[in-house]
């Protein structure tokens, strides 16, 4: 094979492999962004308060103080199984809203800095605190 052709083919091969990876990373970034901040709390509190709730959450549950794990927990379905990958901000918001509602129905709540919250929104606050620290 000519040297020039080899370079071209190699470059195209690398590009073919990297583009989906880049695309995937981009989508993850998008999903992550759509998971924060917790919608209800952001209507009643400032960012500092939400970060404070997040820090309190990760202090109480230090093993969860990782972006990828918090994302998985937030995207897991109500039974805590297989992470779902909702696409688009609206879909994610409605998915989380249902999870929060379910938390309050089942008593899956925590008290963080005095706030009585659904575990889901406390995890959202935790992810928010990590992302903005």
């Amino acid at each position: 094979m000519h040297r020039k052709s080899f370079i071209n083919i190699s470059f195209m091969g690398l590009a073919a492999m990297a583009i989906p990876l880049l695309d995937c990373a981009g989508r993850n970034r998008e999903i992550k962004k759509s998971l924060v901040p917790p919608a209800f709390l952001s209507r009643i509190c400032d960012a500092k308060t939400i970060r404070g709730i997040g820090v309190a959450y990760t202090s109480r549950f230090p093993v969860q103080a990782r972006e990828d794990l918090l994302m998985d927990l937030l995207l897991a379905d109500e039974a805590g199984q297989e992470p779902a990958r909702p696409s688009g901000e609206t879909v994610t918001a409605s998915f989380l809203e249902k999870k929060i509602q379910n938390d309050f129905t089942t008593g899956n709540t925590v008290v963080m800095n005095g706030w009585i919250l659904s575990v889901t929104e406390a995890q959202q606050a935790a992810l928010f605190s990590i992302m903005t620290s």
Partner: protein, 515 residues
């Protein structure tokens, strides 16, 4: 007819069918029931028609345990009693309040809510309330703007309160009492001793004194103590000539089980959008009714908590209000009440202008919870005596972990229901964050509600009075008022103590008819 006992010749003997000791909400409510009856009623009031420093000082005493208001200013000592400055908050006790609750030690009345219902209806009139209706539906039909928060009624329900103008019993009922031919009102007639027969089975007479140096004796068929929970206990304990431990105190129960309402700011409710909160708001002197959030009986049972209700007030104002325990610190109740109202007015003026800030949609949660009956929380006698020679009172106010656990759980349940409904989030105040912390913050206060010191029980070993409010073992001595309460429930005690007093009055009418 009114007689100033200072003007009588010392050593006078006063006689009647019934002697009511105390002309506050309980005593006057009983007296009103007997106007134009064929029976002669003696109504003894320690004070006059106006505030009198020397008379007020008879209420002074010491407090130990949980920080409390000065006893000297915690009640008013003149005709009309503490209705002279009460705020008029009224509501009824719930069915569960009368029941035996396994998780509330010493709970369980010998009567039910149903027994008290007809008397509640009559008590409404004494304090000039609206119709005997404590159902939200009734009030919503009258005013559709009374919209409740969309919370699950099986967990959090809307308990209705009504507001008396507030009725000042002194000016309101003075003329009726003075004009009643069969009622003799004696002012400046402080009961200092109850003399029983030899075997302490009946009261023979009572002694009254005043600062003019006069001492008189009262004979009657029946005697009713209606002096408030601290004074009722004090009088029984101090009447120890024939019964060394005090009258009705064979079991050592007189003065024990002193209860108050814990009234304390506990959290914040943050709505995410404007909501009509008219149902929950109160404009003093104007609002006739409002609702407070309460926990269902089922959830009280499930979580083993005390009964309580939570009022809502705009956070922007409430945050600037000083705790009442820090405001009501003086020995002159006339000054304390002015300070209290000034405190509310000041906080209202300090409120930031309404705008788009989230705090405009936030409300303070103020929890009023019953105190669990506790024998260590009690009134005893001091060695120090007042100016008429009566031993002064000592209040040892003792709280238990159950009160704090209950406040936390009540607010938590409201928070969970508000979250479930998607209307708000609740933030607990810091003293409630740690569920294993049972200490109380410095702003812990009461409602000036004294209860339980002559508790009711059919068993003479478990209570001071029976279900008719008669002192066990003493045929003709009765107690009226909140000292007979077995448990405190959430509402302020006035309406219930009036209902109980009217019930006692009916009981005595029946007895006198039979004889």
């Amino acid at each position: 007819m009114h007689i100033d006992a200072r003007e009588l010749r010392s050593g006078s003997v006063i006689e009647g069918d019934i002697c009511i000791v105390g002309a506050g909400a309980a005593g006057l409510s009983i007296a009103l029931e007997w106007i134009n009856s064929p029976h002669k009623i003696i109504l003894l009031e320690g004070g006059g028609f106006e505030y009198d420093e020397k008379v007020q000082d008879l209420y002074d005493g010491k407090t130990t345990g949980q920080h409390y208001f000065p006893l000297r200013s915690a009640r008013l000592h003149y005709f009309g009693g503490t209705t002279g400055h009460w705020a008029g908050y009224c509501s009824t006790m719930d069915e569960i309040d009368f029941q035996k609750r396994d998780w509330v030690p010493y709970s369980g009345w010998p009567i039910t809510r149903k027994d008290l219902d007809p008397f509640y209806a009559r008590a409404q009139e004494n304090v000039e309330l609206g119709p005997y209706e404590y159902n939200l539906d009734y009030w919503q039909k009258k005013d559709p703007d009374l919209i409740p928060l969309p919370l699950d009624k099986n967990v959090v329900w809307n308990k209705i309160w009504q507001f008396s103008p507030p009725t000042r019993f002194g000016p309101k009922y003075r003329k009726r009492i003075e004009d009643a031919k069969n009622i003799q009102l004696y002012t400046y007639a402080n009961l200092t001793d109850i003399i029983s027969n030899e075997n302490v089975s009946a009261v023979k007479q009572v002694t009254v004194k005043n600062h003019a140096g006069k001492e008189h004796t009262v004979h009657a068929k029946y005697f009713i103590l209606a002096c408030g929970a601290i004074q009722n206990a004090r009088i029984l304990l101090a009447s120890n000539k024939q019964a060394p431990q005090g009258l009705g105190n064979d079991q050592g129960l007189v003065g024990r089980f002193f209860m108050e309402h814990l009234e304390i700011k506990s959290g914040e409710l943050w709505l995410d959008r404007p909501n009509s909160m008219k149902l929950y708001m109160m404009d003093f002197g104007r609002t006739k009714m409002r609702s407070e959030l309460a926990i269902s009986a089922e959830k009280q049972r499930e979580f083993k908590i005390l009964n309580g209700t939570v009022s809502l007030s705009p956070l922007a104002t409430a945050r600037n209000t000083r705790p009442i325990i820090d405001v009501w610190t003086g020995k002159d109740p006339r000054k304390d009440i002015v300070d209290l109202y000034q405190n509310f007015r000041k906080s209202d003026h300090a409120k930031p202008p309404a705008g788009a800030s989230p705090i405009d949609k936030a409300f303070q949660l103020f929890t009023r919870v019953e105190q669990a009956p506790n024998p260590s929380s009690r009134i005893t006698l001091d060695t120090e005596k007042d100016s008429l020679g009566m031993p002064r009172s000592i209040l040892n106010w003792i709280l238990t972990p159950l009160e704090k656990k209950s406040i936390r759980k009540i607010d938590e349940l409201i928070g969970q229901q508000a979250g479930l409904a998607g209307v708000a989030r609740v933030k607990l105040l810091e003293y409630l964050w740690d569920e294993n912390d049972y200490t109380w913050p410095s702003f812990t206060g009461g409602g000036w509600h004294h209860m339980g010191t002559t508790r009711m029980s059919e068993d003479s070993k478990a209570g001071v009075v029976d279900a008719d409010c008669r002192v066990h073992g003493i045929a003709n001595l009765y107690v009226a008022g909140s000292s007979c309460f077995v448990t405190a429930a959430a509402p302020n005690p006035t309406l219930t103590l009036i209902a109980l007093s009217i019930r006692l009055s009916d009981h005595l009418k029946g007895k006198l008819k039979r004889h």
